[in-house]
Amino acid sequence: MRSRFRIKKLNWSTLIIVAAGVIEMFLLMLGGIKMLEFTDSSQFCGQLCHTPMTPEFKAFQISPHSRVECATCHVGSGASYFMKSKVSGIPLIVATVFNTYPRPIPTPVLNLRPARDTCEECHWPQKFSDDRLKTYVHYSTDEANTKNEFQLAFRVGGGEGPTANAIHWHIASKVWYLPLDEKNIEIAWVGVENTDGTLTQYYSSQFQDQATADKIDAGKKVMDCLDCHNRATHIFKSPDDLVDEAIIQGRIDGTLPFIKKKAIDALDVTNPSFAVTESKIAALDGFYQQQYPQVYQQKKAAVTQAQTTLTDLMPYVIFPEMRTTWQTHENDLSHEGCFRCHGKLTANLKQPTTGLITDDCSVCHYTLSGSPDNAPTIPHPIEGRANCLQCHGASGVKPFPSNHAGKANSSCTTCHLPGLVARSVPHVIQGNSDCLQCHAAGGSRAVPVDHAGRGNDLCTGCHVTAASPKPLSGTSIPHSLQGVTECLQCHGAGAFVAYPLSHAGRGNGTCLQCHKAGTSVSALSGPSTTHSLQGISDCLPCHGKGAFKAYPVNHNGRPTTSCVLCHAARASAPSLNGPSVSHVTQGVTDCMQSVCHASGGMKPVPTKHAGRQNSTCLLCHKGDTR
């Protein structure tokens, strides 16, 4: 009986073809596995999607997690997450192909795997870490690229249960929070689950209306690694940090003058393109050739090396196509991150200052040596001055910057260490309250450049009076000051009663600080002249040293301009005129020739003219100049 289903007899041809097909399928399966591995690779994410992922990929390459594939954190393991990531990646591919992706790439990544499924694959939060020492090395932008180094110890901590402490207590315990925005910057509520099962709650005074029970239940999140380490891998370093690292590593010669300044100028994030940055880097040659030709001759290779290094650093700083800079994305592993809650939320809304989540810096870190480069040292003694905020609070005479708002006295010395104490004031201050009269810029004892803009009220904050201050006084002025304003005319450098060398550079305004007019001093005046001063500009031909009517010895050295300070013309004094000369005076220079007007000459001068010189004749006797 025939079967209803006719089965063709299989021949070898068919078997061969089927076998080939099976082999083909097997090979395609192997290839497919490799293809999936390729799509999960960092090269696929960062280099294939070249332009949109450039900033993130570049930051990733120099980060601590550069050997961890992108998919490890962004996809994770398991078939469901795999499918989710591939499906959610389709719109991204479309956006990449059609160039519709946003610039910059917005953060945070909304569909990122929870930290407890990614970070905690390798890092376990219960691990206790002791204090972690970190050394910060920073080079200044001065000519010598001055190195500043300080060491900060971080209380990392961790642990489990009731023994958990320090920074990683936030992970070891269950800390809930209610963010008001996607980036978790504004926090309205924090709830800490205590070991006894109770919940300690903190509220923001500013956003207390938004921390209702419903909203808390609906929107609360538990703190995880990424709440602080949101930039665990895509860490954008500033040009400042990158250049510092390059100098430390020797890739940039730190002995080149101003190299730090020129380097960060070249890597300016506002540069619109790589071409502009490259031109600034190339300009280093010209700068050293012109400003430091000797250095350029000796260290040309170092300059070239610096240029090469800066060119290598350029792609890690500037991302003009993506409109991204190192400042674009927040890094919550910073004071800004900590102070989202610390110093802001309080357990007692009625008295916010009590029950505040502490903002004491020493809770998280402490300084071992040096001080942060941007934290000025304290230039005055601190003994007896525990209340820093009295002068440096928001309403003090020298208020701190706005980013110090909310900080307590106890945190000041965490960053600001006592440095060189300001010089003491060597003179009595009483009666000399206007410090700027002598110490202003351009004054006889000008303050340093960094004191620019400071008023009198700040001086004694740092400069205390010396143990034995000297009175700020000099010799009394022996004459009245009435009508006298220009002391330097008689007493300036080189003048006939010049001041001492120690007074060099002092202006008229400073004289009276020390020199007071004595009591019952006479006015600065001498005998009136017996003749009118009209037409007389030079007193010395008649009254100078050795002249026929020489001034007293104590007038020696005085210039003619000083005469009128004391000697005024008497009212109705006759003009200095004598009989006119009856002959032509042109070519006649020696009036006192013996045949003319000398004693015994044809027409001798009157006896009262005895001793007068030729140069004085024409002062009174006007000649016929025909």
Binding site: I17, G21, E24, F38, L48
Partner: protein
Amino acid sequence: MNETGKQDNPVEGEATKPVGGEGLVHELLGLIRKDRLVKLGLVVLVLTTVLVVFVNMSTLPFDKPFVGLALFSLLPVFFVVGAIVFVLAILRH
């Protein structure tokens, strides 16, 4: 197979085929020579083999992601072409 040990020849005029492995090779070669679909299938198989061996042994696809994209893009092409060719070939035979 008939009483003499030789295979029945369904096609008139065709010479009697040898049996065993040698016969298989002859059949395969004959198949490839005569049938274009089989030829195409063989080409697809060879290309797939070369491609899969290359992507597994070489780091070029990862070092140059655009090359990798081009290579891996061929896999679905081979899958589709291969599926069509092999199914048609099987149906024909």
